[in-house]
């Protein structure tokens, strides 16, 4: 079931999600890492980061809150150990980069030029978890565009650059458009929603970071709405869709809404082999519905035309 990410061919349209697969090593016992589209790595910054104090998680109805604070080895550690490990196994990495200043993003992009096994870059302008005095980049079209342009300019021309958007904005289409105009080769949608949980016993927020990012099936309808609106407005901009995907039929909804590929994040915590299972289920679902190629189904739900000759049980 061939797919692609900003023109780069993928063996499968299903990828992991940044922060839900570390750097791939821990998932290796559960499935063949070369069988999925790519491992999307934990957002990395220039310097190593400890991350926030615990508690860093709270379970919520059909979801969870996390406040990790982008713990990670930093670009040097990534280049020295994590990426070589993946490349040695023929696995592909979509490297997620993050920073609190435009220059940081640009430097990260250039450090990753020509690195073996790196498929492309996911620019995390929307992760809500790390302290900063300013606003989330992705809440501001201009700030987002600035980062995307800088990354596009500094990055390896062979690396597609995907800008990752937050749903916590009044008009996600304006941010999407700004990123596309600034040279993004595609858009990753959505990051977590900002949420809170209070422990009824301690009567304080559960998370050390007070608020945290909400993910999992609970947010799937919001993620689908964002993909729908952005594809409706920018039908030619490739979308990597994510947010609560647990089954092939969930992934199918994202494809029909306009996503050319999907990421599976929180569902991996419930089912470590979810990415390969979901890819199989998606392939079967597309076949049953008469889609010869994945690309025929992308954005199909927007088009008024009758469904193809495939099975319709309703």
């Amino acid at each position: 079931m061939q797919a692609s990410l900003g023109g780069v061919p993928l063996v499968s349209p299903v990828l992991t999600a940044s922060g839900c697969s570390a750097f791939g090593q821990e998932l290796d016992p559960f499935f063949d890492l070369t069988a999925i589209g790519a491992v999307v790595t934990k957002s990395v910054q220039l310097r190593a980061r400890s991350g926030r104090p615990t508690p860093r998680m709270a379970e919520t109805p059909s979801g969870m809150l996390n406040s990790i604070g982008l713990q990670g080895p930093g670009i040097d550690g990534l280049l020295a150990e994590e990426l070589p490990w993946l490349a040695a196994r023929g696995a592909r990495a979509l490297v997620s980069i993050a920073g609190s200043r435009t220059e940081d993003f640009a430097e990260l992009a250039s450090r990753l030029r020509g690195v073996p096994g790196v498929l492309g870059l996911e620019v995390n302008i929307s992760c809500p978890n790390v302290e900063s005095r300013g606003e989330v980049f992705a809440c501001n079209p201009d700030a987002s565009a600035e980062v995307v342009a800088a990354v596009r300019a500094a990055a390896d021309p062979a690396h597609p650059v995907y800008a990752k958007l937050t749903p916590d904005v009044t008009d996600i289409v304006s941010v999407a458009r700004a990123c596309a105009d600034a040279g993004a080769n595609g858009l990753s949608m959505i990051n977590t929603l900002l949420g809170l949980a209070i422990d009824p016993d301690t009567m304080r927020p559960v998370l050390g970071g007070v608020t945290g990012g909400l993910s999992g099936p609970a947010i799937r309808p919001v993620a689908l709405r964002c993909v729908w609106q952005v594809h409706q407005a920018l039908p030619n901009v490739p979308i990597l869709g994510m947010g609560g995907i647990r089954t092939g039929l969930d992934a199918l909804q994202f494809v029909l809404a306009g996503a050319g590929a999907v990421s599976v994040g929180t569902a991996v915590f419930n089912d470590p082999s979810a990415p390969v299972r979901i890819a199989e289920e998606l392939a079967a679902a597309l076949g049953e519905r008469g889609f010869g190629r994945l690309s025929d189904a992308v954005g199909y739900a927007h088009r008024r035309a009758d469904p193809p000759a495939g099975r319709h049980s309703r």
């Binding site: 559960f30 310097r47 190593a48 400890s50 200043r101 989330v136 099936p217």
Partner: protein, 300 residues
């Protein structure tokens, strides 16, 4: 390893429930100190995250676990019936290390934590070690595995805070008495107990291994929610994952007093406090900058 295990038996054990599960792949490879993680709530449950439960014993192709009904997920596990199937992943985490040759071992279990020591006691006895044990709990009904450990360890000291069973008092009282005759100490139970036991062992320069508990979203090392500050071989403190670098750590390596905080000397702590506009003012202690969220969200 991931799959469905059939519940062969379920038995109330004081305030807990012992489940016996048919899981040959896990039984054949697991070692004392490791745990498994269960999907809970059934097919349509709103509880997405797995619950991590220590492996208490192995009987041929079956493993046993002892579950305490805390919240909805563990409560669901205690309500499983014979013949039900449950989705389990494991064995997970790093087991208890072996004891130094000939060293007499002291095992210390708190509440259901004692269950994770039964397999260890058997293994140590099998390797010719003397095994003594201390088992404690808040009250009699919270004690666990006293019979099994009674058959494997001598002496076995049993204590309850409220004196409703065995001696009245905290386990540390008996540990202080028995630690002098020990060559290695293993402990599993509440964090406070692990800290006290580690200090007692450390004071005597005894190797001490503790199995910790931290809230776990994934249990397999991909989410970074289960970290605690642990001093590495290089002397530097890192936020280490309880699920993969643990749950068993050297008692002297865990900075118990700093759990839930961000000590400034943790690797990468300096990067956390940086103001976006300018570098942190010289000399500013990049301590735990626990400010309320700065506006609608926090930049990465």
């Amino acid at each position: 390893m991931q799959g469905l295990a059939e519940v062969l038996a379920t038995r109330p054990v004081s305030a807990y429930v012992e489940l016996t599960l048919h899981a040959p792949d896990i039984a054949e490879r697991c070692e004392p100190g490791q745990f498994v993680s269960f999907a809970v709530g059934g097919r349509t449950s709103a509880m997405l995250l797995r619950r991590s439960i220590a492996i208490s014993g192995v009987r041929g192709p079956a493993i046993t676990v002892v579950v305490s009904a805390a919240g909805p997920g563990s409560t669901w596990l205690t309500e499983l019936r014979r013949g039900d199937e449950v989705d389990v992943v494991g064995p997970l985490g790093r087991p208890f290390p072996g004891a130094p040759a000939g060293a007499p071992a002291l095992l210390v279990g708190g509440g259901y934590g004692a269950a994770a020591l039964v397999g260890l006691a058997a293994r140590l006895r099998g390797a010719g070690h003397e095994v003594a044990a201390v088992v404690g709990a808040a009250t009699a009904s919270r004690l666990c595995s006293t019979d099994e450990l009674g058959r494997l360890a001598a002496p076995l000291a049993v204590l309850t805070d409220d004196g409703s069973a065995g001696r009245a008092g905290r386990v540390t009282v008996a540990v202080a008495e028995l630690v002098t005759g020990a060559g290695v100490v293993y402990a599993c139970g509440p964090m406070g107990m692990l800290r006290a036991v580690s200090e007692l062992a450390g004071a005597r320069g005894l190797p001490c291994y503790v199995a910790v508990e931290e809230s776990m979203a994934c249990g397999i090392g991909v989410c970074m929610t289960c970290v605690l500050p642990v001093v590495g071989a290089d002397g530097r403190t890192r936020f280490s994952r309880a699920c993969t670098e643990g749950p068993v750590f050297g008692g002297d390596r865990v900075r118990f007093e700093d759990i839930g905080t961000l000590p400034p000397d943790v690797v990468g702590a300096d990067a956390m406090g940086l103001a976006p506009a300018a570098a942190a003012p010289a000399g500013a202690v990049a301590g735990p900058v626990v400010t309320s969220p700065a506006g609608p969200g926090e930049t990465p």
